[in-house]
Symmetry: C2
Subunit: 404 residues, 2 copies
């Protein structure tokens, strides 16, 4: 994708993460949004049933860099974008997701639009037209999960937002009621439209506080089963060959999201509950490194994967998958870890520590230690930045490093 | 939009119609596709229930110019694109259109993708991935009709096609069965999926022969009522004030397409059967010039518009609207002109003459007479062009002329 963007050319408005030269804000959003979701390791939000930040932040940072916005302005735009995604989720879910739409792409387009519209200080009419132009672009389906089109969705959503808000600022019009109109986006893409969601909005209750961060490099809906099996793993002793059966009790919606039958590629592995169950028990972790061919073809993981039974029922919850492991000596081990509870109170600090570790492990190999540390400091004092360009100048990577 | 494209910048790969400098092929497709549909005066195809050429040709010409393709290659790509749109229409219509999707945007994205994929000579796998990346972008709803978002849809579809095929050529993957998969694009966007459409495809039967060309600058679904009323107009004598009632018998689908209640802007007027009925009877024509404020506010047109009754029934057909005019002296005049019959045999030559006249009337004011005549000659010998850049060099317009 980066080659395609460079081939296209453009004015140097915004940084392509890890690349030596700038491109247009639109193309930076496209490419950075794709990169942000390429590992499927980014944050999730249960109300939108998708990944909130990849489309929104990629759009807001690209335009913020173009216009020289403050960190506080970009952060406010991020909140506007994520609240938009979450509100639309409350309006349209679970039918939108269950039908087959990929919310990171679809609701992400509206979120990215809201963020850029906020950053560009659009007035009310322009905001409505921007949402109309977002509706003219919001696409992306779960049928692409396990292919490069999934991360592309996040980039496309970010770029859609940049274009929608920028055109609205220039006076391009669209239907002002694109989402809620009869025959509008909501009616066309969900059968669980809940118009009362509007009236339950509370000014002091932000859904951005409910954003969850991935510990494992797989689909968030698989986090609970991985954590559950990691709890049971020590009880098995030193050899997983005692495992004779594994049951995963998942909601039916999991079947269309992370139930890839095969795990031939790392991408497929991230959406294969069977492979991930084997990986958790055998490797004891599921970081980016475990989605290599060596683990995908590991004989013992393959053996366990074939023993896994995915049972669709409502015993658990969206983010809480009851797991059961049977052993050849007749034991039945059970666990259920709820991964749907956002950090609060003191646990926010633990979460921050974990996120800094995750940041370092992903950024240092690309950016080098010095720039990575400086970047980490700037991210942690983001709201005080006078100009987000200061931060972006540390994201260009070393010559020859490859991100996308 | 042109300002937005220039602000973005890009390598000089393809011509922006009527503009003095080149932009990237992607952005030329976006802007030229929008311009092609801005007057809503472009061709239509009943099998796709939309406008086939604006997205497909804008994409094929932009990429054709970038790579220096022959006229024959671009023309073949055009056929590939339009047949794709038409086939998807046969697969998914009328449910897709009736639900509220704007086929020029949605099926147009797949058509533009097919055209560029053909031009770039993608192999079978790449073709499938290109369609997958098209599915990741195909959006656009009829709720935007009467706003600038409608022509934007055509441009967005063209640019979507350029991006989808270009990324697939570079190895980006997507679901290979995006359209037909369970939970894929067809299932998500229509309830009249007809899988037998595949088996009725005939190699020697091209739907491109069924493309219809607009005579009036309004929605094609209103052409029949305009032609019918133009037939009755001489029978009314010199004064339309004898008209006491007008009945239009349209299919129910017309109500969600061209039944704008108001005609405050020229764009709304093009989708208002009531206004168009008045315009046909009073002005006797409906070319681009008749969508000005003077005609929109004409008292006698307003009087007749208020007398119009739009009757949804199945007496007529998609392109054949029975019209009835009652007069104060008790006469009842009836007409029904079928506008759904493509030109064939000798009538193809008549059609060509009319199209050349239409071309001249639209292009001369922008391009000047000399360049316009030369351009018209080149278009008429398109299949013999060794390099389509020859033609595009005549489309840059005069300094200061404004197209978009």
């Amino acid at each position: 994708m980066r080659d395609e963007i460079f081939d296209r050319g453009g004015n140097p408005q915004a940084t392509l993460l890890g690349a030596p030269k700038k491109v247009s804000a639109h193309d930076a959003a496209l490419c950075n949004g794709t990169a942000s979701h390429a590992l499927d390791f980014d944050d999730v939000l249960e109300t939108m049933l998708g990944h909130p930040s990849a489309p929104v932040l990629s759009a807001a940072m690209a335009v913020g860099e173009k216009i020289g916005a403050t960190g506080a302005a970009v952060m406010t735009a991020l909140v506007a974008g994520i609240e938009t995604e979450s509100f639309l989720g409350r309006l349209m879910e679970p039918g939108h997701h269950e039908a087959g739409w990929h919310t990171t792409a679809t609701l992400g387009t509206f979120g990215a639009t809201a963020a850029v519209a906020h950053l560009l200080r659009l007035n009310g009419d322009q905001f409505n037209h921007a949402f109309g132009l977002a509706g003219a672009q919001a696409a992306g389906m779960k049928v692409s999960f396990g292919t490069m089109a999934k991360p592309f969705h996040a980039g496309r959503a970010a770029a859609n937002g940049v274009l929608a808000a920028s055109l609205a600022q220039r006076g391009v019009t669209a239907a002002a009621d694109t989402i809620e109109a009869p025959g509008g986006y909501a009616e066309l893409t969900t059968d669980t439209l809940d118009r009362t969601a509007v009236s339950t909005l509370r000014e002091d209750d932000y859904d951005i506080k409910r954003v969850l961060f991935k510990r494992h490099a797989s689909c968030y809906l698989t986090h609970s089963l991985i954590e559950g099996l990691l709890q049971l793993r020590p009880l098995l002793g030193s050899d997983t060959r005692v495992v004779s059966a594994v049951h995963l009790h998942v909601l039916p919606v999991h079947l269309t999201t992370c139930n890839s039958e095969t795990a031939r590629t790392g991408l497929e592995g991230k959406f294969s509950m069977r492979f991930l169950a084997g990986l958790a028990l055998v490797a004891g972790k599921a970081s980016e490194q475990e989605f290599s061919d060596a683990w995908l073809n590991h004989p013992e993981i393959r053996r366990i994967s074939e023993l896994v039974q995915v049972v669709p029922d409502h015993i658990g919850a969206q983010m809480a998958t009851p797991v059961e492991v049977q052993t050849i000596d007749g034991r039945m081990l059970r666990a259920c870890v709820d991964m749907g509870i956002p950090a609060s109170g003191r646990r926010v600090l633990d979460q921050q520590t974990r996120l800094v570790e995750k940041f370092d492990s992903l950024v240092e190999p690309v950016n080098g230690r010095g720039a990575s540390t400086r970047l980490s400091e700037l991210v942690q004092s983001f709201e005080h930045l006078e100009d987000v360009r200061t931060l972006m100048s540390y994201t260009r990577g070393r010559a020859g490093a490859s991100v996308v």
